[in-house]
């Protein structure tokens, strides 16, 4: 799995949030995207998931699909999924339904009659056990604590069985035990050959978890490379850590 971003550009009222950005997200590795606030990290994820229209540039998926316009409901078919900085769940649904809603096929029969095959239930159980929420499966999602909600959102993304995962600050506000669960999920996805993108402010996590790092500043690529090298780069220290 590979996503090539070529000359991606996004402007907001004269401000260029992402400026002619080119980078490649490879499968089988965790790619960190770091940078000071307003550097364009979340905008990049929003562009890749179709939440914002692209003003310029292209996204090439697996060397075969070239897209200039990404529609949110199509990203599933491209094998892309994401989580959000501010948790976004289906609050009216139970914890279990938040997982099942992404698993069942959307053909006419299933639209009329909710048919969860044994493998859907099995997958939902597997994911909910992985994020330690199986015991809360029948509770409304709105009843969960902040950390549990964050885990459920990550669980929902994992159950989509995508090939590219865009995680926007998944560790923010988590207790150490929960952060360990997220860390193991990210490592597991990497071992399965998925491209895992991690937006994160905690540099220790970036050093310990990522294989490759892109540093953004004011919407442009400031540096890229192995985390230990990049994070010692003078430009990066000045632009980011010095901030």
């Amino acid at each position: 799995m590979k996503i090539e971003i070529r000359n991606l550009t996004k402007r907001f009222d004269g401000v260029t949030a992402v400026n002619n950005l080119s980078l490649t997200l490879e499968g089988g590795r965790i790619t960190g995207i770091v940078g000071p606030n307003g550097s364009g990290k979340t905008t990049l994820v929003n562009l890749l998931s179709g939440f914002l229209p692209i003003d310029g540039g292209t996204v090439i998926i697996d060397d075969t699909i070239t897209v200039k316009k990404i529609q949110p409901h199509k990203i599933k078919s491209y094998g892309i999924t994401r989580t959000f900085q501010d948790i976004r769940l289906f609050e009216q649904m139970s914890v279990l339904d938040n997982i099942l809603v992404v698993l069942t096929e959307r053909n006419l029969w299933c639209a009329l009659f909710e048919c969860h095959r044994p493998e859907h239930m099995q997958k939902a159980e597997e994911v909910l056990r992985m994020i330690d929420l199986w015991d809360k499966r029948d509770e409304p999602a709105s009843n969960l604590s902040y950390g549990q909600r964050k885990l459920l959102e990550i669980g929902r993304a994992v159950s989509m069985e995508a090939r590219v995962y865009l995680f926007d600050e998944p560790f923010a506000g988590l207790f150490p035990g929960m952060a360990e669960i997220v860390e193991s999920i990210l490592r597991q996805l990497r071992s399965q050959g998925c491209a895992v993108v991690l937006i994160e402010h905690d540099m220790d996590l970036i050093r310990g978890l990522t294989d490759y790092v892109f540093v953004l500043d004011s919407g442009v690529l400031l540096a890229e490379g192995r985390p230990h090298e990049v994070l010692q780069d003078r430009k990066v220290v000045e632009a980011y850590i010095g901030n």
Binding site: S49, G50, F51, Q71, P72, H73, I75, K76, S77, T81, R82, F84, R88, L89, F90, E91, Q92, M93, D97, L100, V101, V102, T104, R106, C110, A111, L112, F113, E114, C115, R156, M160
Partner: protein
Amino acid sequence: MDILTQLVINGIIAGAIYTLIALGFNLIYGATKFFNIAHGVFAAIGGYTVFFFFKLSGVSLVPSILAGVLLAGIAGMLSDRLIFLPLRRKRGSSVIMLVASLGLFTALQSVIAIMFSNRFQTLTDIFNIQKTYQIFSGVITQIHIVIIITVISLTIGLFLMLNRTKFGKAVKAISDDEEVARIIGIDTDRVIGYVFFIGSAIAGLGGILIGFDTGIMPTMGMGLLLKGVIASIVGGVGNIYGSVCGGLLLGFVENFGVWKISGEWKDAIAFGLLIIFLLFRPQGVLGK
């Protein structure tokens, strides 16, 4: 005849009528988060379609009713495709959507008036409104029984649709977060189109049944819409079960409110109830 029993029966009948409008309104509001004023005119479209086919063209009753429901649903779906969907794509605010729906309401109401005149029309006497049934010491007409049974069936049907079908789960997902619903692969534009169809078809059915009860006028939509909106807000806007709760509460408060005073106070009482809820419990009885 015991006046209290009759007031209860009248409250249930009025509540059922308001619920009929509020059900479709809330279904659409839940998915789109805007007050669709045009919803009222779909009730008139349903009523006038039956008037055209059954009374003017001599088509039999059941196909006429089916045509009325279907046409109201299609009109609702088209309104989404041609007006509301493009506005959503341009990220139009809920105020812009509301104003657009008001424009659509006025335009369609005028078209109905041009086609059928502004005069009051009766649909038919197929439901013999003179025929009454005794319940304890109160009376109820045949059409009112049909309305109550329809509302109960529709509420159960919508409950099953929302909770037991994949389509219903998609509607709930959109109602919670349309953007996230998209990234998990739900074609939200298509689902919202179907929601408009179902909601408007329910309004159409409401217009038909009310037409059999009291008759039809091109302007009937606004009055029905206002009561449906009050029922929605009182019960919990966007909440299907709130429609039933709000509709019945409004029906009872209106009818018991005019027990000792003139019936002309009904509307004042209804809007008084709305103001009380907006001031002290804006989320309604059941909340979202």
